[in-house]
């Protein structure tokens, strides 16, 4: 019996488990292989929707489904908190004492926000990286009557790189529609020397920031928040006053991969960029936010990585070489980018081809809305 264990029931974990079970259908039916997903809550959450709780009237209840309902019937689901991953004995231990042995292990353990690493973050800063926080931000926007809106990034890497720019554009449009734009200043703080990490996207976004009169502050790495003076301070020594503060919280990888010695301090798993093998561990694979690859931490990345991990795991189980175009990950990522006023664009790129975003239009905005609504029937089951 060859046991495949997938840790994490997000986009990557769910899709990869379904694809592996499809490839190992006969072996599973014959009792020669098994595929098990371990998820802490048993609920699959569509995180890209959080931004729309704050900005688009989305409801948190629409963004979750039972994980079981998204998995192939051949995939076993174990709900429990992972306490340890023991590479020496090839066993995953759960909090409640259960143990799961593996022959192939897939780490789809994602990333987590750590706002507590910046003092006063919880009290002062809004964000949209959980349903609760996005609801709070919505309430703050509803109560906003004008003033200084500061949007920044308090640590890299973070989930969904375009999101803070999208939020800046959407809030600007909302303030204009509510007649509050004249009474408001908008500031966007980027940790690097331009608006966005990828140069071509920066070249697209910077004129839009200028056109919308959103002041860009480059090399602004948020380090401190002063709740009394309502200012943020940067590592570079600058200070900026706010009335409404929206910060992307710092992110880390899963604590269990740090504690198990698989990832260094910040928790990103050292991963081979072509094979998605965890470096130094022939039978451990990683995908999605969990890796240290120089790519967007986004469901889209996991979506395009999953077929590669599935092919490599299936090949290992079947004792053959990985084959076909899905045996190598090319760094493919594709994501929509909201510009505001009902317009959007599309970022499509890989390791060697930077994106060339089309001129923003209504089609890509609608594309994002349709993709979000149909996600449950497409991505997790490998239909797109």
């Amino acid at each position: 019996m060859q046991r495949v264990v997938v840790l994490g029931g997000g986009v990557g974990g769910t899709l990869v488990a379904n694809l592996i079970s499809r490839k190992l259908k006969k072996a599973i039916d014959a009792g020669e292989a098994s595929v098990t997903v371990v998820d802490e809550t048993g609920t699959h959450v569509y995180q890209p929707g959080f931004m729309y709780i704050a900005m688009g009237g989305e409801r948190a209840s629409n963004l979750q489904r039972p994980e079981r309902s998204l998995l192939d019937e051949r995939v076993e689901l174990v709900v429990g908190r992972i306490a340890a991953i023991d590479d020496a004995t090839k066993v995953v231990r759960l909090d409640d004492g259960r143990e799961l042995g593996w022959d192939q292990l897939v780490l789809a353990t994602g990333s987590r926000i750590v706002p507590e690493s910046i003092p006063d973050f919880a009290q002062e800063a809004h964000h949209f990286y959980s349903a609760e926080a996005a609801l709070k931000l919505r309430a703050a926007l509803d109560a906003f009557t004008g003033g200084k809106v500061v949007i920044g990034i308090a640590g890299m890497p973070y989930k969904c790189p375009p999101a803070p720019l999208e939020v800046a554009f959407l809030i600007e449009a909302e303030l204009r529609q509510r007649g509050l734009r004249e009474k408001s200043e908008m500031h966007y703080c980027s940790p690097i020397g331009r608006a966005f990490t990828i140069e071509s996207v920066s070249e697209m976004a910077t004129p839009i920031l200028e056109q919308k009169h959103i002041e860009l502050h480059t090399f602004f790495n948020v380090e401190t928040i002063d709740p009394e003076r309502k200012t943020i301070g940067s590592l570079e020594g600058e200070e900026l006053a706010y009335d409404l503060l929206i910060l992307v919280p710092p992110h880390k990888g899963a604590q269990v991969v740090i504690d198990s010695g698989l990832a260094p301090g910040a928790g990103w798993l050292p991963t081979e960029k072509d094979t998605l093998n965890v470096k130094g561990h022939a039978d451990i694979w990683a995908l999605g936010d969990a890796t240290d690859l120089p790519l967007s931490k986004a469901g889209s990345t996991a979506h395009f990585e999953a077929p590669v991990v599935a092919e490599r795991v299936a090949a290992a189980v079947q004792g053959r070489e990985a084959e076909g175009k899905e045996s190598i990950y090319t760094g493919r990522v594709m994501c929509f980018f909201e510009i505001g006023d009902g317009k959007g664009t599309l970022l499509r790129f890989d390791y060697t081809h930077p994106p060339t975003p089309p001129k923003p239009n209504r089609v890509w905005h609608l594309g994002k809305i349709v993709f979000n609504k149909t996600y449950w029937h497409t991505v997790p089951r490998g239909r797109v």
Partner: protein
């Protein structure tokens, strides 16, 4: 190209070769956060953008660029933490 100064001793080397922009800059920022004033950090980067972006950040952050040297397939950028 900044001429290398003499008389400095590197406190910490950050090998960011193989990492893409903004990885090397973010590694340096992490290193600066963890260092003491007076420490000298060397960043090794194979990303072509680093030799432009990192000196710009050093200037903005008020630190001292000691050297920027082209090595075999990568750049070595040496910075002193000033404040």
């Amino acid at each position: 190209m900044t001429a290398p100064s003499t008389g400095y001793q590197i406190t910490r080397t950050i090998d960011a070769r193989g990492s893409y922009c903004p990885g090397p800059l973010m590694e340096l920022i992490r290193g600066i956060r963890e260092s003491q004033v007076g420490d000298v950090l060397a960043v090794l980067s194979s990303d072509k953008g680093s030799k432009v972006d990192i000196p710009k950040w050093i200037e903005k952050a008020g630190h001292h660029l000691i050297a920027l040297e082209a090595r075999d397939g990568y750049d070595e950028i040496v910075v002193e933490k000033v404040r």
